[in-house]
Amino acid sequence: MADWEVVIGLEIHAQLATQSKIFSGSATAYGAPPNTQADLVDLAYPGVLPVLNAQAVRMAVKFGLSIGAEVARHSVFARKNYFYPDLPKGYQISQYELPVVKHGKLTVTLDDGAVKTIGITRAHLEEDAGKSLHEGLAHASGIDLNRAGTPLLEIVSEPDMRSAKEAVAYMKKIHTLVRYLEICDGNMQEGSFRCDANVSVRPRGREKFGTRAEIKNLNSFRFVEKAIHYEVARQVELLESGGTVVQETRLYDSDKDETRAMRSKEEANDYRYFPDPDLLPVEIDDTFIEAVRATLPELPDEKAARFARDFGLSAYDAGVLSASRELGAYFEAVVAAAGVGHAKLAANWVMGELSSALNRDNVEIAVSRVTPTQLGALLERIVDQTISGKIAKEVFEAMWSEGKSADAIIEAKGLKQITDSSAIDSVIDAVIAANPKQLADYRSGKDKLFGFFVGQVMKATQGKANPAQLNELLKRKLGGAA
């Protein structure tokens, strides 16, 4: 196989988290009974007119500022004309020649630690279509227009990605960002965040791009990766067997793990874009931009850098803990409770026990059963040697299921660590007395038996003996000290 280079660009559709639709007053909540969230504007009744939702513009500007993009002072809504039953007006209102956001960029960190900058050509506002329902109706198709008119931000990247992994890393980064900005809930199952992938291949070293195929409507990171893998293999095989790639739109079938042609360029619609005469151009001034800028939160990269700098975390840990605003906030609250000096311990616990409990029980961190203050109090007990790290895990599980404080559980279960040397000594004496053979073997050189004695003492103390003290005392006793 010749050396092929993969070229990928993504068009990400992020549903904006506005209360109402982009051009009507209807609600945007997911999962309502069909057509209960569609008013006369959404249904495209004769005579109705669109009125732009200012909140959607604010959100688009917020996104633009977060990727260092140019916010267009003048942008225009255009009509994209085509007939489809789930498109009630017969056109989609979108932005075409003059989008609200252009020329941004985003830095992604790959698994191997390499850092790559991906260009973002533009981001524009548009309305979503409704959906057709083909199931459960005998001789007809149904149409649900609840989604029609839902605001979308379409984020178009440059063809800067060179592998499926890069594409996924970029998509994840955008996913993190839009949730940080609180402009999209990021829910991929509900279709709030999805993408189209433009994929082509070219012999490495050649400048000219190959012919691309566009894979539509990918709604999970895994599908993006698999669809790109499939598509790259398909194109390479086609080219190596003397064929040519045709420019077309393809659909990824996750059941069969393959992409299939939807329509070719020749069959593509002529959308007859033109400026929508029902809407004025969107004029944005500095005051508006600065007001939006003032609402920008600390961005993921800034937060990760601060975690690494202020808390001495590794780049990886800082990245994980800043992956969502909620996780970052939780972590910081734990650090505040446990003390900055124990940030690493806090990081380990948040990424370890807490995350696995959240995942296991499918609980959002914002409503975690163990609050950051409670977790911080638990960590304090590790630090002050009231309990060992191992016992702490047991305490944590009890906190998770019973909702009580660490101290209450330690007290109730008698898990307080034994740090009284004489108490540990007497247990050691009893263990040695009960195991004369092992003692003899140890003394004759079987060092490995040290672990056996530790285990016996821990067993006798239900794990409560202070491990460091135990080690020291046991070494002395086994060595023959009185």
């Binding site: 006369l40 004769p46 005579g47 009630p88 002529d270 007859r272 029902d278 809407l279």
Partner: protein
């Protein structure tokens, strides 16, 4: 007798309790029943609702409320959505469509107590200059029933001229108020684009459509426009500009008014038409106005420009009529494409189809720049021409139409000749300017219109100039024979 009174006079009599709105409404309903079968000016009569609304208006008057339109009957062009009443747009496509809401224009007039008698016939989706493209058949001109009343608001114009109501609403995209007003001898006002809300007005060409009024005098039109005009948050293109008191300045003196004579309007104008305009100018000079010749060099391009822009917008605006959610649906569609093509093929008439196809063509890849974009540039040039002209003149004056009403059937098979009817009116639409047509005499015993065009938001000035002219003349008081 009641139908001969002005809105002002009717208001005084209603206020003095000499008549009731119910009586007035009965009077006009009776006239409609008697005269409309000949004229075909109305598509839908809403007698029961009208009497109920009149009763309410009387109750409001009895409770002490006043208002120039409280209890005054009107007819709405069937392009305005009216809650619970069929809104057909003169099309088979919407023959079964009962609007679930009121257009802003309808709601405002309703709130002021005006009483809707019914819905006026019109060219299908406002596309036409003769009212012959209506699914409900042509409207007859009350001055000569073998003649067209003009269009697209032909039903509203004919109804006003025939005294079937004191006033009627209309819309003007390329002249659809001013041209039929001229051809039926009534006063028609097309306000500044953005002055009156388009919400609930079924769109033909969104950047050109503007709602306005037909009345028998400028003074009446002022009262109606007062109610219709104003900002509407539901129409992003409506403009938040204070509405002046149009009646207050009707009598303002015209001394010092500079009237611009558009050279392009007089080039090739038929002699008898030109003579009427010059007679009108004499009156204006007597009223103290001066005249100055102005030129709009790009104006001759207005018709071709319009016939790119308007069809382009219409081709998109009418896409929603697809047989899926409301309106006409073909029998037994066999699949989606069949549903679309037959519903639209059977639901739309020939002129509408012609414009959809023209518009689709000019927006297509490869033609967009040559047609749509070029037309937008010319539109800008025409707007600039007007702007320059208004540095020299306060108002522009010219004919409304090149000829008086023509025979039904004479031009319907020749679209280009038909389109040239709007040669004098389209410019104001392209530039978004207010225009007014008022009767100024006769050619071949048929009424002719004098057109006034003013700068943006100069409706008060246009109404003032028209009113002063009407104080000095009585063209506007003349009724077609049989409709006095």
């Amino acid at each position: 007798m009641l139908h001969t009174f002005s809105i002002g006079e009717l208001g005084r009599r209603l206020s003095a309790k000499e008549i009731s709105s119910v009586e007035l409404t009965r009077h006009f309903l009776a006239r409609i029943e008697r005269l409309n079968p000949t004229l075909n000016a109305l598509i839908t009569l809403t007698a029961d609702q009208a009497l109920a609304a009149a009763g309410k208006a009387d109750a409001r008057r009895a409770a002490g409320e006043q208002g120039p339109l409280l209890g005054i009957p009107l007819i709405h062009k069937d392009i305005f959505c009216t809650d619970g009443v069929r809104t057909s747009c003169g099309s088979r496509m919407l023959d079964n469509f009962v609007a679930p809401y009121d257009a802003t224009v309808v709601a405002r007039l309703k709130a002021d107590g005006a009483v809707m008698l019914g819905k006026a016939n019109m060219d299908e989706f406002a596309m036409g200059s003769s009212n012959e493209t209506s699914y409900y058949g042509p409207v007859k001109n009350p001055w000569d029933t073998t003649k067209v009343p003009g269009g697209s608001s032909g039903g509203s114009a004919a109804a006003t001229a025939a005294r079937l109501a004191p006033f009627a609403t209309g819309t003007d995209t390329g002249g659809s108020i001013r041209q039929p007003a001229a051809l039926t001898g009534v006063t028609g006002v097309k306000p500044t684009y953005g002055r009156v809300s388009r919400f609930g007005l079924v769109a033909f060409a969104s950047s050109l459509d503007q709602a306005g009024v037909f009345a028998r005098s400028a003074a009446d039109a002022a009262l109606v426009l007062q109610s219709m005009a104003g900002f509407d948050p539901r129409d992003s293109t409506s403009i938040d500009e204070p509405v002046p008191d149009y009646s207050a300045t009707l009598d303002a003196p015209l001394a010092g008014l500079k009237i611009g004579l558009l050279r392009e309007f007089f080039d090739g104008l038929e002699a008898r038409n030109a003579a009427l305009i010059h007679d009108a100018l004499k009156i204006y000079r007597q009223l103290g106005a001066t005249t100055v010749e102005v030129s709009l060099p790009n104006l001759p391009m207005s018709v071709p420009t319009y016939y790119v822009v308007a069809p382009a917008e219409c081709s998109s605006n009418l896409s929603r009529f697809d047989g899926v959610r409301y309106g006409y649906r073909c029998e037994n569609p066999k699949d989606l494409l069949d549903l679309y093509t037959r519903s639209r093929g059977e639901g739309f008439g020939a002129e509408v189809k012609r414009r959809i196809m023209t518009g689709t063509y000019v927006l297509s890849a490869g033609y967009f720049d040559a047609y749509y974009l070029k037309a937008q540039k010319v539109r800008r040039l025409i707007t600039n021409d007007f702007r320059a002209a208004f540095k020299q003149a306060d108002l522009l004056i010219g004919p409304t139409t090149p000829t008086p009403a023509f025979a039904i059937g004479a031009k319907i098979d020749d679209p280009v000749t038909m389109y040239l009817n709007e040669i004098y009116t389209i410019g104001a639409n392209l530039a978004g300017l207010p225009g007014l047509s008022l009767p100024c005499g006769y050619v071949d015993s048929l009424p002719m219109g004098l057109q006034l065009i003013g700068p943006h938001f100069s409706e008060a000035k246009l109404l003032n100039a028209a009113h002063r002219f009407q104080e000095a003349t009585d063209w506007h008081r003349q009724a077609p024979r049989g409709y006095e």
